[in-house]
Each structure stands twice: as structure tokens, then as C-alpha cells.
């Protein structure tokens, strides 16, 4: 089967912890090797030679070191050992591969030029004054073995350095400046940033403006003006510290162009500020078990609102213009719906909802501390919030008319269906929905925290892989089912685990090259490996009564 070499390289770099750690570590290994070799030759063995000549080998050694790192990771990935043992094995594998490569370099060097002459130094017994392959190999192995004294510690230290960054969602202070994967979400932030700049150039030109800010979770917040003059495409930010929320109003454009009045959220947090924003859903607020959540919620509108997480916190009525300060201990690990619980479910469905997620106190990447990490550790995590809109009721809210919940539930005719506030093609492309569309390589499981903030019972359906349903309303399922459909009742949160398996019924994997090429020719872009996720209550696939499938749909992709 055809292999895409770029993707393979990207995957290998990814596995090794990102491009920067690979470059730095391999540089350190190459430099150490060079310096050690020179010092050993001159000071211990009493040989002479030029530093400049050796320096010429630096680029080669650097490349070999990088190659060793990239080769070593996939090998040690197969080992079924704990994290610490894995570090040691990583170092051994890297140094072994580099050691062998170094032998080859020495042998080639000796054959092309001349092998070093033996000296009277005590360690130099492996050198002979003969010419030929055998002495060259002896010289190479000798040097290579001795060099392990410096290589092993460096490989070990470097491993500790980047293993930590790729696996532990530590405090914000420990964040690297440019992670390949966001340590909290596990998402490829590097590629998203690249994608934004490419999009800026290609798609929006000079007329479009993109304001990008790195949120405290290391995520990117962007606003584009050209695509939606009336409603900015907003990425739901993930916030943790010093969060202020603002209950705002405004108009959003539906996919068919219909403007609809909505309630939504502005926010302020460390480094990010969008007080006048109109985010629906609101920012994801995340924390760990055992921590204290502090929130300020301001109602900028002229009617009462509230901020409630069932069983966790209740602001009571927030009057027009009022700001409340909320402080509460993080509840047990899981996904929570926050909402304006006044006039339930009216205010929630009109836009005042979002998600709080609590991660286990031990900082592991799993949905719940009772889940066995061997099976349920995820690589990236996502929040998918579902909602629907009946513009007739939004118009009533705009006119400040009272909406009775009983009437709302009885007469609600949903015309637009959203996932993370977007519908259809806007929700199904990573360019416009980087917080929704999951793209990753095989065996990088994604935890998806699904929240139904709407009024209808949805039935999300995953193509391409079955998912494991881990929990409902923070309660671990005692029977974890392997499903292609997951029932989502209104107000419910459920965590599901998308394993990123090879699609089990594919006759070929990687997919047959003719199929991949055919789809690429048809679509002008790589489609093979891309699968939809959509609600199977198929009315939800419409917008304005038609336009299939411009509703509650997104795509995910095995890269």
C-alpha cells in the first residue's frame, strides 16, 4: 500500500514529542558526540587531529541523531512497560541506533582517509596500525561504546524533559511556548496555527482580519470578519484562571443567511479578553479535582439571568447590570453543563449554556480516575455541545416578551441545529471549527465530552469507528458499551471514547491508493480517512427546513 512519507515523518516527529524537542535533543547528542570524540582522541588516546575537520561532521551527526530519535520511538512504542521504564528503553534505543550509525561513519571515514595510529595510551589497545575494514570497524565500535558514557545521560535527560510535556496536563506555568500538542486538550495547536496563517493568506486576503490570542489553555481564539460580517466565527476558548463571564446579546447569522437574535457569552481571562463577545456555547471552563473555581458573572442585559451548574453552584438571580462572584470547590471529575437555569429550558436554549470540565486530581489524561489508564488514556479531548434554534422564540426574547417554558416545549419548532454553535459545513471543516473537527493519526484516542444543551433528544452517530460510552452526567457507566449511536437527552452530558482504530471493516488499510487518489481528484483535497459524525434524528440534518446536511454534523479524520 502507498504510504504518504510526509505523514509518516510527521507522525514520527509527533510520537517523539514534537519537532523542537527532536531538534534540540539531536543537536545536543551530536555536539556531545563530537566534543567527546575529539577530547577522547586527543586527551585520552593522545592522538592529534583538527577540530575544524571534526566540526564538518556536525550536520551529519545531527541528522543521524534526529533519525535515531525518530526511529527509536516507534520501536519502544511496542514495549508494554511503565512510563519510567519506557524512558530508559527510549534512551537505550536512541543510543544504540546512533551508536551503530556512528560506527558506520567512523568506518567510512577510516576507509576514505586513514585510521588513527595506536599510541601508548592505556585505552588505545583497540587501535592497530593496519589498514582495512576490520581495524576500521574495531576503531568505530571502540569509539562508539566509549561515547555511550555521554550519550546515554543526555538521551535520558532529554526524554524526561519532553515526556513530561507531552503527557502531563501540568500547571500553565510549565507550558512550553510552542507545543505541538496542547498539553490540556492534546490537540495539535501547532498545525492549527499554521492553518490559520495559511487561511489568512488564501481565503480571507487582506480584507479579512484574524485576531488570534493564545488562551490560558494554550488554545487559539480567533475572530474572522469577512466570512460573517454579522457574526464572527468564534472558537470556543478553554479558560481556567481568573475567568469573568458576561451575559450578552446580539445577532448571529444562520447557515442560510437568516439573522437570529441570541443570548451568548463574553469573557475575560488571563491573556484573553472578549467582553462583548457572543459565544454560544460559552467558554469551556476547566479545572482539576481538588482545586477551587473562581468565577465572576456579569449580566449586561435588561432582564434577570443566572449561572447554575446542577448540584455544584447556583448564583441565584443576577439582576440587570449586576456582577456576582462565585467560588466553589471543583466537583468530582467529569463533564458538567453550566446554564442560565431561569425559565428552564428557555434561557439555556436561547444561548446561555456552556461546559465545565473537571479532570482527575492526579493529572492523568482520562475521563474518570476509576478508569484503567491502560485502556482509557486519551491523547486529545474535545467538548461537543448540541443545541437547536427556533427563531420565533428568539424574536420573542428580543422583543422582551415573556416566554413560558410550557409553551416553549409545546410549540418549539427547531429550524437550525448546532454543534458548538455552528451548523453544517461550518462545523465540518477544521478551518472554521478547529475546536470540533478531530484529526489525528491511528491509535490516538480522543475523549469527547458531549453536552446536550438543547431541548430535543439527539442520537449522535459516529461513522468510521464505534465509540465507547464511558459516563453519563459524571457517573461512570458500570456497563461500558461499544456503540455507533449514543442517546443524548436534553440537559445530559456523556463522555465517549473514540479509539482511532483502523476502520474494522476496511478490506485494505491504509486505504487502497486508487480509492484515496480518486477521492482526492473528486474533492481537490484528501478525503480518505474522513468520516462524518451526525445526529441520526435526521430532522437535525436540515437548516430552515431543507439544505441537507447543514445541521448537527461534523467530520473527523484518521490522518
Amino acid at each position: 500500500m502507498r504510504r504518504n512519507h510526509d505523514l509518516l515523518l510527521e507522525a514520527a516527529i509527533d510520537r517523539a514529542g514534537g519537532l523542537a524537542p527532536v531538534v534540540v535533543t539531536s543537536g545536543a547528542l551530536a555536539a556531545a558526540l563530537l566534543v567527546w570524540e575529539r577530547w577522547f582522541h586527543t586527551s585520552v588516546l593522545g592522538l592529534d587531529g583538527s577540530w575544524l575537520g571534526s566540526l564538518a561532521y556536525l550536520p551529519l551527526l545531527w541528522l543521524l541523531s534526529a533519525g535515531s530519535i525518530l526511529l527509536a520511538r516507534p520501536i519502544t512504542d511496542r514495549l508494554d512497560v511503565g512510563r519510567r521504564a519506557r524512558l530508559v528503553w527510549d534512551a537505550i534505543a536512541i543510543c544504540s541506533i546512533l551508536g551503530v550509525a556512528f560506527v558506520v561513519v567512523v568506518v567510512v571515514h577510516d576507509l576514505l582517509f586513514a585510521p588513527p595510529q595506536p599510541t601508548s595510551a592505556p585505552g588505545a589497545s583497540y587501535l592497530t596500525d593496519e589498514q582495512g575494514l576490520w581495524p576500521a570497524v574495531r576503531h568505530g565500535f571502540g569509539d562508539s561504546l566509549v561515547a555511550q558514557i555521554v550519550l546515554l545521560p543526555i538521551a535520558l535527560l532529554a526524554g524526561i524533559g519532553f515526556r513530561d510535556r507531552t503527557n502531563a496536563p501540568l500547571s500553565e506555568a510549565s507550558l512550553p511556548t510552542k507545543p505541538t500538542r496542547d498539553p490540556l486538550t492534546g490537540r495539535h495547536t501547532g498545525s492549527t496555527a499554521a492553518l490559520l496563517s495559511r487561511r489568512e493568506a488564501l481565503q480571507f486576503g487582506a480584507a479579512g482580519t484574524i485576531a488570534a490570542a493564545i488562551g490560558s489553555g494554550g488554545l487559539v481564539t480567533l475572530t474572522t470578519e469577512k466570512a460573517h460580517a454579522a457574526a464572527p466565527v468564534d472558537v470556543t476558548p478553554w479558560l481556567s484562571r481568573g475567568v469573568s463571564l458576561f451575559i450578552n446579546e446580539g445577532t448571529k447569522k444562520m447557515i442560510d443567511g437568516t439573522p437570529v437574535y441570541m443570548w451568548g457569552w463574553g469573557f475575560e481571562s488571563e491573556g484573553v479578553m472578549e467582553r462583548d463577545g457572543l459565544h454560544t456555547p460559552g467558554p469551556v471552563i476547566w479545572t482539576h479535582e481538588g482545586e477551587t473555581v473562581e468565577l465572576r458573572v456579569t449580566n449586561t442585559l435588561n432582564e434577570n439571568h443566572s449561572f447554575v451548574i446542577n448540584g455544584v453552584v447556583d448564583s441565584g438571580i443576577i439582576s440587570p447590570g449586576e456582577t456576582v462572584e462565585l467560588q466553589f470547590p471543583a466537583p468530582s471529575a467529569g463533564t458538567y453543563l453550566y446554564q442560565d437555569a431561569l425559565n428552564l429550558p428557555v434561557n439555556r436554549v436561547l444561548g446561555l449554556h456552556g461546559a465545565l470540565l473537571v479532570m482527575p486530581a492526579d493529572r492523568t489524561m482520562r475521563s474518570h480516575p476509576a478508569l484503567d489508564l491502560q485502556y482509557w488514556e486519551f491523547t486529545s479531548q474535545w467538548v461537543w455541545i448540541f443545541n437547536e434554534i427556533d427563531p420565533a422564540f428568539n424574536a420573542m426574547a428580543q422583543a422582551d416578551r415573556t416566554i413560558k417554558p410550557s409553551r416553549f416545549t409545546r410549540d418549539f419548532v427547531p429550524r437550525y441545529f448546532t454543534i458548538n454553535g455552528r451548523m453544517g459545513s461550518l462545523a465540518a471543516h477544521v478551518e472554521t471549527a478547529p475546536d470540533t473537527v478531530i484529526e489525528d493519526s491511528l491509535d490516538n484516542p480522543a475523549l469527547i465530552r458531549m453536552v446536550n444543551a438543547g431541548i430535543a433528544t439527539h442520537s449522535p452517530h459516529m461513522h468510521g469507528n464505534h465509540v465507547y460510552v464511558l459516563s453519563t452526567d459524571q457517573q461512570l457507566e458500570h456497563q461500558i458499551m461499544w456503540k455507533d449511536q449514543v442517546m443524548m437527552k436534553p440537559g445530559v452530558t456523556r463522555d465517549i471514547f473514540l479509539p482511532f482504530n483502523i476502520p474494522p471493516n476496511a478490506v485494505y488499510w491504509p486505504p487502497h491508493p486508487d480509492g484515496a487518489a480518486f477521492l482526492k481528484e473528486l474533492h481537490g483535497t484528501d478525503m480518505e480517512g474522513k468520516f462524518p459524525m451526525h445526529c441520526h434524528v435526521e430532522q437535525s440534518q436540515t437548516a430552515g427546513g431543507g439544505l441537507y446536511p447543514q445541521g448537527l454534523v461534523t467530520d473527523w479524520k484518521i490522518k
Binding site: T409, H463, G464, P511, V537, T542
Partner: protein, 383 residues
């Protein structure tokens, strides 16, 4: 019974076929409401990439015919009809069933004839070009053969699984303007038998009486959608596809009797393709329930209350409850009504404990109001 021969299929977007299928790559405006319409390739006939010799083959033609409802109305249905069922002019609802064995390479050829369709093997996960989704692959008007392997190796949970974890109940359907096409009847069951063959629910799983086994594809019909064309709403305009108001309720196309415009809960569907019976002390009965509509269902066996039946839930969505991973589902006894959402499947192992007949009931609730919309009932008899 009239053969309308796809008459309703003609007001689709056939005239725009040439315009359709422009490349998504050329098309960067994801906010365009016609994005999917414009970027979904509509092709004639396509060869299956990497075609291999199949172990099982199905050839599905698309039909459109009318069927009489319990209240006397004649209603249009569309569906897929396998070669072997074609002599039968009686409209099939649901579409022709398929049955294969784990490890089979399966070919499903569709021949839409006029307007474009696809066949998505719901729950079967093949590569993208065999997934039958227009916006990620293509739709066809001529023919295409979907290729998949039933029960291929699973690499789940980070370790190598046996080749035998895909036996169960699946639900295939057309994925073009699905809201309409699925509801028009373009769905059917796909059963994957374990390597042991029919009579065993899954590899190393419980056995059942083959003669008593039933698929219950539970569907609902909104007669107002019958006036819509093949591509209704696809180019915009309010086709009303956001509102589903079912009037007729059925299991496998056998309709629940009606009274004053509503389903009559005192009657049952007695047709032998739905109702079943089993010997007390004999092999249990396997019921393969599939939600083939858009409401919320609640499933209950009255024989549990009266001690006539014992019901175990043994699999869902084509995955056995085999408890192979920690916390992973194991078969459990049904003690309260089971709720199911659109397209879910559950396999029930029903053991008759006493002689006599008892009812099985599936109630449909509106997805928003939760209001009861209708009911289907049938019987299970212990002999």
C-alpha cells in the same frame, strides 16, 4: 397497488447534475448554504477501487411503489430491492435484508437507475470510498459496488483482538438527503453471523432457535413527506424536513392497526414475520431490534411482569457484550423498559419460562415534547 416507477424521483436536481460535483478544494466558502450541494460529486457508474473477489454479493435496485396503510391510504415508499426479491412486486418495507458471516468479503452493488443514491452500511466501518456518504465521497446514478470485510481484525483498546467481534445487527440505508430517503423506506437490516453460523448470537456467545429469530426494524411514516421530491430542500427553501409527524407505525413493514387516526394499543401485529414463539425449556429466541426512525423509543416485554419471559440484552450496535475489557458491558437482564434513540440496535435473548402468549410493546415519543406519538405491539408465545 401501483408501480409508480420512480415517478417521484424526477423532480430532483437532475437538471443541475452537471453543475453539481465541483471540487470541495476549489470551494473555500464553508458558510455557503449550498456548500454540500455543490461539492458532493454526483457520478454515473464508478468502479470499486481495489476490488477483490467477494464471498457474498448483493445487487440492489432502487424502487418506488405504493403500499396501503391500515386506514386505507395508499402511501409511496422507496427502497432497495435485492435481485432475489425482485420478482415480488409487493413493496418491501424495510428494504431487502442482507445476511453475511464474519470474515466474508461482501459486495453490495446499488443500481439507482435515475436519481442519485448511496448505500451506507450503518455500523459497518469501511474506508471512506465505501462509506456511502456524498460529502466525503460520491453519490451515483448508475452503479457502485460497496466493498467491505465483515468482522475484520479489530485493533481496539490498544491490543490485537480476535477476528470475531463484529457479529450482530446492522442497519443499512441511503445517505442522500437522508432525512427524506431513510424515512421513505430506503433502509434494511444487515445481519453478521459469527463463524459458528446462524443460531449463535456472536462468537462463543449464546445460542438461539433459528426458526424463532426475528428482526424488528421499527419504523414510522409521515404521510406529508410523500409529496416531496428526491432532492427536496437540497437547494434551499423550506421543505418542512425539520418537522417529523409520524402517523403510521410498523415493525418490518407490518403496520400497527389503527383506530380514529391513531395506533390502536389494544391490537397487536400478528404477522409471523414479527410475532414469534418458542418452547419452554427449549432454545431461547433472539430478537434483533433496530430503531428505524426519528423518535425516542421505549421497549418492554409484558411477559417479564407476568413471569412468562426472561429477557437478556446481549449486544448493541453490532457489538457483543462480551466483557473483554474492564468495565466493558456484559449481558444483563431486562428489568425495566429500555430506551433507544434513532438508529440504535439492541439484541434481546428471550427465554420463555411459562406457556402462553405475552405482548412486546414499543412506544414512540416525540423528540422534543416527549409526547406519546404511537405504539407497536406484537406477541411472543411460550409453547
Amino acid at each position: 397497488m401501483t408501480d409508480t416507477d420512480h415517478s417521484n424521483f424526477d423532480d430532483g436536481h437532475g437538471a443541475d447534475l452537471e453543475g453539481a460535483g465541483s471540487k470541495a478544494g476549489d470551494h473555500h466558502d464553508f458558510s455557503d448554504p449550498l456548500f454540500f450541494f455543490d461539492s458532493t460529486p454526483v457520478l454515473g457508474s464508478v468502479d470499486t477501487p481495489g476490488r477483490v473477489k467477494p464471498d457474498k454479493r448483493f445487487e440492489m435496485k432502487v424502487y418506488g411503489r405504493k403500499k396501503r396503510m391500515p386506514d386505507g391510504e395508499d402511501i409511496e415508499f422507496w427502497g432497495f430491492e435485492d435481485r432475489e426479491n425482485r420478482a415480488n412486486k409487493e413493496p418491501i418495507l424495510p428494504s431487502s435484508p442482507m445476511r453475511v458471516t464474519e470474515g466474508d468479503i461482501v459486495h453490495v452493488e446499488i443500481k439507482p437507475a435515475k436519481r442519485q443514491h448511496t448505500l451506507h452500511l450503518h455500523g459497518i466501518e469501511s474506508d471512506t470510498h465505501n462509506d456511502g456518504v456524498g460529502h466525503t465521497s460520491f453519490e451515483v446514478t448508475g452503479s457502485y459496488t460497496y466493498q467491505f470485510s465483515a468482522g475484520a481484525p479489530f485493533r481496539a483498546l490498544g491490543d490485537e483482538r480476535p477476528k470475531t467481534r463484529g457479529a450482530g445487527t446492522y442497519l443499512y440505508h441511503c445517505h442522500v438527503n437522508t432525512t427524506l430517503h431513510f424515512q421513505m423506506g430506503m433502509y434494511g437490516s444487515l445481519i453478521v453471523d459469527p463463524i459458528e453460523g446462524p443460531g449463535t448470537a456472536f462468537h462463543n456467545g449464546p445460542t438461539y432457535d433459528i426458526a424463532a429469530e426475528r428482526v424488528w426494524a421499527v419504523g414510522e411514516v409521515d404521510p406529508t413527506w410523500r409529496d416531496l421530491g428526491h432532492a427536496a430542500g437540497m437547494k434551499g427553501g423550506d421543505a418542512g424536513l425539520n418537522q417529523f409527524n409520524p402517523v403510521y407505525f410498523h415493525i418490518n413493514g407490518q403496520f400497527q392497526p389503527m383506530r380514529r387516526g391513531k395506533t390502536n394499543p389494544r391490537r397487536v401485529i400478528s404477522n409471523k414475520s414479527v410475532a414469534t414463539e418458542g418452547k419452554v425449556g427449549g432454545e431461547p429466541i433472539l430478537i434483533r431490534y433496530a430503531h428505524a426512525s426519528y423518535t425516542r423509543h421505549s421497549i418492554w416485554f409484558e411477559g417479564i411482569d407476568s413471569g412468562k419471559l426472561r429477557v437478556e440484552v446481549i449486544a448493541s450496535d453490532g457489538r457483543p457484550f462480551d466483557g473483554l475489557a474492564p468495565n466493558f458491558a456484559q449481558p444483563f437482564e431486562l428489568t425495566e423498559p429500555l430506551e433507544a434513540a434513532a438508529a440504535e440496535r439492541y439484541d434481546f435473548l428471550v427465554t420463555p419460562l411459562k406457556k402462553g402468549s405475552s405482548k412486546a410493546t414499543i412506544v414512540s415519543y416525540d423528540w422534543i415534547t416527549g409526547k406519546e406519538l404511537g405504539v407497536v405491539k406484537t406477541t411472543i408465545r411460550g409453547l
